[in-house]
């Protein structure tokens, strides 16, 4: 836990950066990717060829990797503090290692998936 506390500024930087990134981009990505495209409301905008060309371009890969990983780290820090608020300091190690562990897994998965595009 000492290391977790020592790195507190890093968690807060990731939390803030992820929060702003979520505000700027996440609603449009969720609305477009998870709601409108599956319902066929984006026309050919996200047909396979175009979606792949957008996501697999260098800008697309960087954008997607940055947005998803930063938002995941933001969520991890917020969940850690939610667990602390609800469960008290007895949960501190579980909250910290569980939340940040999931964020590390998410980051690795994101980078692997984006690199495979």
């Amino acid at each position: 836990m000492k290391l977790i506390h020592k790195l507190e500024p890093l968690w807060w930087i990731l939390f803030g950066a992820g929060g702003f990134t979520a505000c700027f981009f996440l609603p449009a990505l969720l609305l477009g990717g998870l709601v409108l495209a599956p319902q066929g409301l984006l026309g050919d905008g996200l047909a396979y060829e175009r979606a792949h060309a957008l996501a697999a371009s260098p800008i697309g890969k960087t954008f997607l990797a940055a947005v998803i990983t930063l938002v995941l780290w933001h969520c991890a820090h917020h969940m850690r503090h939610l667990l602390l608020d609800l469960g008290g300091h007895a949960l501190a190690p579980l909250a910290a290692f569980g939340s940040y562990g999931l964020a590390v897994l998410g980051t690795v998965a994101t980078l692997a998936i984006v690199a495979a595009l």
């Binding site: 929060g19 979520a22 505000c23 700027f24 981009f25 996440l26 609603p27 449009a28 990505l29 969720l30 609305l31 477009g32 990717g33 998870l34 709601v35 409108l36 495209a37 599956p38 319902q39 066929g40 984006l42 026309g43 050919d44 905008g45 996200l46 396979y48 175009r50 979606a51 792949h52 957008l54 996501a55 997607l64 998803i68 938002v71 995941l72 933001h74 969520c75 991890a76 917020h78 969940m79 503090h81 939610l82 608020d85 609800l86 008290g88 300091h89 999931l102 998410g106 998965a109 994101t110 998936i113 984006v114 495979a116 595009l117």
Partner: protein, 140 residues
């Protein structure tokens, strides 16, 4: 090393939740709801990752994923995730107006009322979303 020699000997009581926390008052409920948005936003990221994974596997996998996401349950979950994300964004932007109202170094305080300062970042967010949606929709 502490600021005062006697500080390390000072005993403090352990931290404890305030009376009525977490659901006793609307202020607490809003706070918990705001923190819970992180769970749904993480779910949204997992959904996007699923889509990108399908995209990396070829056209059949991509079309199958789109068809799967069009099912009523997945649509409802996506809308729930979107709703929590929007709640997060609007609350984040609305709290941010107080930062804008402060004086930062030599810069003068903005000559705008507090509600207008709240609308400015929200207007910026919505503009960016429309641009991004236009790109996703093939209009740009």
């Amino acid at each position: 090393m502490s600021a005062h020699p006697a500080a390390e000997k000072t005993r403090t009581s352990p931290a404890r939740a305030p009376s009525g926390f977490p659901f006793g008052f609307s202020r607490y409920r809003n706070y918990v709801l705001f923190a819970a948005t992180s769970v749904f936003m993480a779910l949204g990221c997992i959904g996007l990752l699923e889509g990108l994974y399908a995209l990396s596997k070829g056209p059949e996998a991509w079309n199958a994923w789109l068809a799967h996401m069009a099912q009523p349950f997945d649509l409802a979950l996506s809308l729930l995730v979107l709703g929590f994300t929007l709640y997060f964004v609007f609350r984040f932007g609305w709290v941010g107006r107080k930062i804008g109202a402060g004086r930062i170094g030599p810069l003068p305080r903005p000559p705008l009322p507090l509600p207008v300062l709240g609308l400015a970042p929200l207007g910026g967010f919505v503009t960016l979303w429309l641009i991004l949606l236009a790109i996703l929709g093939g209009l740009l």
